[in-house]
Amino acid sequence: MFSFNEIKKSLAASVWLMFLTFPILVIRVNTVENVVEWRWKNMVYAGAAAFIISFLANFLVKRKEAGNKNEKDKGNKETLFISQRLLNDKRFFFPALVVVTIFILSFPFLFSMYQTSIMSTALIYVMLGLGLNIVIGLAGLLDLGYVAFYAVGAYSYALLNHHFGITFWVALPIGGVLGAIFGIILGYPVLRLRGDYLAIVTLGFGEIIRLVLENWNAFSFGPSGISNIPRPDLFGIDLSLQANINFIYYILIGLVIFTIFVVNRLQNSRIGRAWIALREDEIACQAMGIDKAKTKLMAFALGATWAGMGGVVFAAKTTFINPASFTIWESVMILCIVVLGGMGSVIGVIVGAMVLILLPEYLRAFSEYRMLIFGTMLVTMMVFRPGGIIPDIRKKYTFEEKDK
């Protein structure tokens, strides 16, 4: 079953890895106390793990390549992912929808406050992911500074509330609008840039916003942040903590549904198709008469709106914000959600957000190894499913020859 060749390869990998990790894994240095600790056991672990993993990896890669070959041999038949197949089946769709709806609505009562709270966090990231999906997934513009708009939304609520006493519900649309405005401000200078240059400039903008918030104390209270941001109120009634957390959860469910609805409509509209054209081939798109500048700006602006609104909810949920919450890593996380989930597909983004946000929380049991596992997962997922968990299936119109 397993050829000798494969075993040889895995052994080689194992020895290599033992060599590679020798200094860092085996020797622990503490130059503060001038001690050197030798941990030979680790080398054995590393070797064993490497052997097993490389074996598994080779096995899976071979299967994947066999699967790819099969696909090519079978011709052009549409291979739908199982969930799409299920969803298309009307008999399955409606009952599933009902079950899911009931589950979503009763979630806070089935699970503890903590679970609801992190589910709310995940939902905020779903919104963010859907927003970024417009920019990256649909329009193909690599935006690494998305967190800037998130920060704009959060700080707009915090500051407006601090200075003018504006409540959550008024701040929500304002946050969205401000996000859009900043999206246009960001979009304007980068119209001429392509690909990775665009990426680095957007990254720069994300950092600029964060640094300005951090240093301009008079405006943003700097690193000490703004605290005591009021939670959303229900017609002026003060809610207890438990009720409030549930309330925020429902607000987010509403917002997410709204977002999905709007994004779906956008995807199938003229501007949506313009974005997809832009992503596929900029020059052809221009040749077809689509105004590149306007399309790009619309992408940035609309994408940023969701981040702005998400920011407002975030501020209301954590009641304390400071610039440290809006670093490059946040942008990277949201990017990972979009790509991991499957660029362009709404369900993919939702699954991506759930996995990426909930998993570190559930991995708290492994607390120390959390980020390590997370990193490994990202690499593994990408290697084995580069299209994302649920890749986007685009509508294809095919003409089949009648006679052969």
């Binding site: 290599w16 860092i24 790509v339 990202l378 290697v383």
Partner: protein, 302 residues
């Protein structure tokens, strides 16, 4: 006009720029060949520094000669970083050569997280003091207050590395193969170049330069930490883009420009907004030269 101050800032910027350059070279070489922003590159730099520290400590405890320690630590650090670069490429990037660009990017990010936490867990989260491997040269003493021995070594090393790399790229067969692969992978394979080997070589060379940077900066600053690769990586990446990503002289030029910009801005205006200014400067440059200072303006083929 305070000339001494200006000179100090200039030299400070030069040192900074040199460090960025050593890391940026790796970024730009990898990007030139496979069009990937190697997020894990900063971590390779950090691993180089850690490996050097570990080797130096062990050898120090064994009571070896100071010069021997420096040489052995640096060489071993370079070897290991190169090995890590090689391995990372094989695991995380090679399988994704045909995949969409963004997938490779996410894989790089995952690798970066993995390496950071791997070092964190295997070693410690504390800042570890790094012995100054570069001794204070006696003959340089009179000038030491303008430019310390460490800074001098950093500058000289960067210059040497850049010269060596240019030599490699321009005059050797491997260099030619690298340039060919960067231009057109398929064509290069058709003329008989082992594309996989060339890509691996690129990673190895890039990682080696990063390791040199890691050892030097660790000696200069005096402490290392598992997180140091991330920030240095971002700055170096900005520098590489500023100079025109894919171009080696561009990487060095961009790094120097970034170093000077930061140094002068801090010295004359404010240290608070140093990074903001650096990024704004980048935006301005890219507005006027969308492919970076020395980048080739790509003609888009229809």
């Amino acid at each position: 006009m305070d000339w001494e101050y200006l000179l100090d800032l200039f030299l400070g910027g030069l040192t900074r720029g040199s460090i960025y350059a050593l890391i940026a070279l790796g970024y730009t070489m990898v990007y030139g060949i496979i069009e990937l922003i190697n997020f894990a590159h900063g971590e390779i730099y950090m691993i180089g520094a850690f490996t050097a520290l570990i080797v130096a400590s062990v050898l120090g405890l064994m009571g070896m000669n100071h010069i021997v320690i420096i040489i052995l630590a640096s060489v071993i650090a370079i070897i290991y970083s190169a090995a890590y670069g090689f391995t990372v490429e094989k695991i995380a990037y090679k399988p994704l050569r045909q995949a969409p660009r963004l997938s490779a990017l996410i894989s790089a990010i995952g690798m970066s997280l993995f390496l950071q936490n791997y070092v964190l867990l295997a070693q410690t989260s504390n800042f570890l003091p790094f012995p100054s491997l570069i001794p204070d040269f006696d003959f340089w003493e009179p000038y030491a207050h303008i430019l310390t021995s460490q800074e001098l070594v950093i500058l000289i090393t960067t210059a040497v590395v850049m010269i060596l790399l240019t030599f490699l790229i321009k005059f050797t067969r491997t260099g030619k193969a690298m340039r060919a692969t960067a231009q057109d992978k398929v064509m290069a394979a058709l003329v008989g170049i082992d594309v996989n080997r060339i890509i691996s070589t690129t990673f190895v060379v890039g990682s080696a330069t990063a390791a040199i940077g890691g050892v030097l900066i660790a000696s200069h600053i005096g402490q290392i930490n598992f997180y140091m690769g991330f920030i240095a990586g971002i700055k170096a990446f900005v520098a590489a883009v500023m100079g025109g990503i894919g171009s080696i002289p561009g990487a060095v030029l961009g790094s120097l420009v970034l170093g000077w910009t930061e140094s002068f801005f801090t010295g004359y205006i404010s240290s608070d907004y140093e990074d903001v200014f650096a990024f704004l400067f980048l935006v301005v440059i890219l507005i006027f030269r969308p492919s970076g200072i020395l980048g080739r303006s790509e003609t888009q083929k229809v």
